[in-house]
C-alpha cells in the first residue's frame, strides 16, 4: 500500500498548490540556465554563422566585438594576396538606435562585401538575398519590419527584401544586413551642417600650412568631398574575414598574416573564446550565482514544506511505529513525497517554461544537458530537504500516540 500517494490524495489541494509554487521556482532556475545559454549562443551566433576561418583586426585589439577595431579598407585586398587565402571580405558592424512609429528601433547594422557576399549564407525565412548594391536590406524578423517595409536611415530609404530568424548581435540586438557601402554610409552619417563645419575646419587648417599657402588647389580641394582628397583615404572597417583554401592549414595562414606589424589575427575558435570569456563572462557568473541562490532557496522552501508535512503526520508516524512498522515504511512515506514533489515541480517548471521562455526579450536556450543536470539537482535537494523531516520522524516515540 502506498502511504505517500494516499496521504497526497487526502491533502490534494494543498499538495497541488505547493507543487505549482515549487514548479514556478524551479522554472526560474531553469530560466537562469537558459538565459546563460542564450547569452553564449547569441554572442557566438555571428561567428558561427558567418563562415570565416580567420579574423584580421587592428593590432593588439580583441576586436571587432569585444572592443573597437579600426583597420583600413584596403587591408581586404592585402589579405587576399596572401598565399592560401581563398577569399577575404570586409566586416563592418555598428549598432544604431532610431525611432520608428514612436518606438525605439535598435539595429545592429551589418555590412556585407558586395558583390561576393549578398547574404546568401543567412537563414532567410522570407524574401531573398540582396539584389543590388544600394538601398536594400535584410532584416531579422525580431525587428518586426515586414517584407517590403521602407526604413529611413542616413538620408536614404532602404527596402526590406529579406527576413532572417534568430540573427542577433553578441549584445542581443537584432541585426540587419546591408551592403558594405550602405552600412558605412549609415555608420558615418553626418548632418549637412556637420559636413559644412568639417570642410570649413579643413579649409582653415590647410590655409595655415605652407603647402596650402603655396598650392591654392589644395585649399580648393579641402572644401570639397572627403572622397576626393587622396590623403584622407576611405572610411575604416572593423575586420577582414578570411576564408582559407580547403587544402591549406588555417594555422599557417594565421601565422603568416600575424607577422604583419599592423594587425592581429584570430581563428574562428579564438574569436568565439574572446566573446565568451570577455563579453559574456560576467553575465555568466552573475547568472550562475543567481541560479545557485535560487537553488538554495528552493531547497530551503522544500525542506520547510516537507518538514511541515511531516509534523502534520507525526502522530500517525508514532502510530505506525507502535504498530511495528519498519523505519523503511516511514522513510518511504517522506522520501516518496519529497521526490514526487520535486518531480512534479520539475515537470511544471518545464512546461510553464516552454510556454513562457519564448516571450522573454532575450533568447532562452534550454539544452538537454542542462535539463538533466537540473533534474539531478532537484532529486538531490528533494532528498536533502526531506532530511529534516526524516530526522524528526525517526526521533518520534511510539508512546506519543498515547499523549
Amino acid at each position: 500500500m502506498n502511504l505517500a500517494g494516499r496521504d497526497i490524495r487526502h491533502n490534494f489541494g494543498r499538495f497541488v498548490l505547493t507543487t505549482i509554487g515549487l514548479g514556478l521556482l524551479l522554472m526560474l532556475v531553469m530560466g537562469m540556465g537558459g538565459i546563460y545559454r542564450g547569452l553564449v549562443q547569441e554572442a557566438t551566433l555571428l561567428v558561427d554563422r558567418i563562415d570565416a576561418d580567420l579574423w584580421v583586426v587592428q593590432k593588439d585589439t580583441r576586436g571587432p566585438f569585444a572592443e573597437v577595431s579600426r583597420i583600413p579598407g584596403n587591408l581586404e585586398d592585402r589579405v587576399r594576396a596572401v598565399p592560401g587565402v581563398l577569399s577575404s571580405r570586409a566586416f563592418v558592424s555598428t549598432t544604431i538606435q532610431r525611432e520608428r512609429n514612436r518606438q525605439p528601433l535598435r539595429i545592429t547594422v551589418q555590412g556585407l562585401s558586395w558583390p561576393e557576399d549578398r547574404g546568401q549564407w543567412l537563414p532567410l525565412v522570407a524574401g531573398r538575398a540582396l539584389g543590388q548594391d544600394h538601398y536594400e536590406m535584410i532584416a531579422d524578423e525580431s525587428l518586426k519590419l515586414p517584407l517590403g517595409a521602407k526604413v529611413e536611415l542616413a538620408k536614404d530609404t532602404y527596402t526590406v527584401v529579406g527576413l532572417t530568424r534568430g540573427m542577433s548581435s553578441p549584445s542581443g540586438d537584432s541585426m540587419a544586413f546591408f551592403t558594405l557601402r550602405d552600412s558605412q554610409a549609415i555608420q558615418f552619417d553626418l548632418s549637412g551642417e556637420a559636413v559644412r563645419l568639417e570642410r570649413a575646419a579643413r579649409y582653415g587648417r590647410a590655409s595655415q600650412i605652407d603647402l596650402g599657402r603655396s598650392q591654392p588647389q589644395v585649399i580648393e580641394r579641402s572644401r570639397g568631398l572627403s572622397s576626393a582628397i587622396p590623403a584622407l583615404g576611405p572610411p575604416a572597417i572593423s575586420a577582414v574575414l578570411v576564408k582559407v583554401r580547403p587544402d591549406v592549414d588555417p594555422g599557417q595562414v594565421q601565422l603568416l598574416i600575424g607577422k604583419w606589424p599592423d594587425v592581429s589575427v584570430y581563428s574562428s575558435d579564438g574569436q568565439r573564446d574572446l566573446l565568451v570569456s570577455g563579453i559574456v563572462d560576467r553575465s555568466r557568473r552573475q547568472l550562475g550565482l543567481f541560479r545557485m541562490l535560487l537553488i538554495i532557496v528552493s531547497g530551503i522552501i522544500m525542506a520547510l514544506i516537507l518538514y511541515t508535512l511531516t509534523l502534520d503526520k507525526l502522530h500517525d508516524i508514532a502510530m505506525l511505529k507502535l504498530m511495528g512498522a519498519r523505519n523503511s515504511v516511514i522513510l518511504g512515506l517522506i522520501l516518496q513525497q519529497a521526490l514526487l514533489l520535486g518531480a512534479l515541480g520539475y515537470v511544471i517548471a518545464y512546461y510553464i517554461g516552454q510556454w513562457v521562455f519564448p516571450a522573454f526579450p532575450r533568447r532562452v536556450v534550454i539544452i538537454p544537458e542542462d535539463l538533466w543536470q537540473l533534474a539531478g539537482i532537484v532529486a538531490g535537494i528533494s532528498v536533502m530537504a526531506s532530511l529534516l523531516g526524516i530526522i524528526k520522524a525517526l526521533r518520534v516515540e511510539p508512546s506519543e500516540v498515547l499523549a
Binding site: 502511504l3 487526502h10 500517525d316 512498522a325 508512546s399 500516540v401
Partner: protein
Amino acid sequence: MTANSGDHSAVLEASSLTKVYGSGHTEVVAVQDATLTVARGEVVALLGPSGAGKSTLLTMIGLILPPTAGRIVIGGVTVFDAHRTRVNVRRFRRQHMGFVFQKANLIPFLTAAENVRLAMEINDMGRRAARRRAAELLDYLGVGERADHLPAKLSGGEQQRVAVARALANRPGLILADEPTAALDSVRGRQVMELFRKVAHEQQSGVIVVTHDHRALDVFDRTLEMEDGELRESRTVSQAQ
C-alpha cells in the same frame, strides 16, 4: 523464538515491573513491583481508579515504554530484562501484539479497510489475503459497509471498531486494550469484549483489557485491580459465577 522461560502455557509473564516517571521531587512511582501472568486463551480485565497506573503497566508490557525495573516474558521469549529490551521491538510488536486505545488513532488518510490492511502489509502478509481478512473483520465488527470511508467520515464508535479490527488483524498472541469501549454504547462495548474473548479462545491469545465498564465484567476470565501503582488479584469471575 527461543523458549527460555518455564511456563509454556503463559502468553505473558511479567515480574516485578516498576515504572518511575521523572526524578527528584517530581518523581512519580506509577507502577510498583507488579507481577502478573496471563495464560493462553485467557481474557483479563484490569480495573482501578484513575491514576492507578493501568495505562503505564500496559505500555510497559507493550514495549512502548521501558520499565524502570522488572522482567517481561512474552510467549516464552524474554523481551525485557535487566533494564534492556532483548528483541527487535518493532518486529515483535507487529508479529505478536495488538493494541487498542481509548482513541482509535486511525491513520486519517487511509480508509477503514486500508487501516486494517496496513497492519497486515506491515507484517508482510500478501495483499490479497490481507484484503480478504480486513473485509471479514470489518464485517464481523459491523462496519463492513463503512470499509471504504475515511476515518473522518466514521462515528467515534465505528472508528473504534476499525481500530479493534486492526489490532486483531495479525492474530497477535497478546492483545492489549486500554479502555477500548469508552466510545461505544454498552451493547457495542459488550460486543467488542465478547469478540476479544472469542479471539482469545480461538487463537489461544492472551488479552488484557483496561476497563471501567463493570457491566461487562462477566466476559472476563479474571479481574486484576490496581491502586496507587500496586497490582492485586481481585477475584476470578468464572469462580464467582
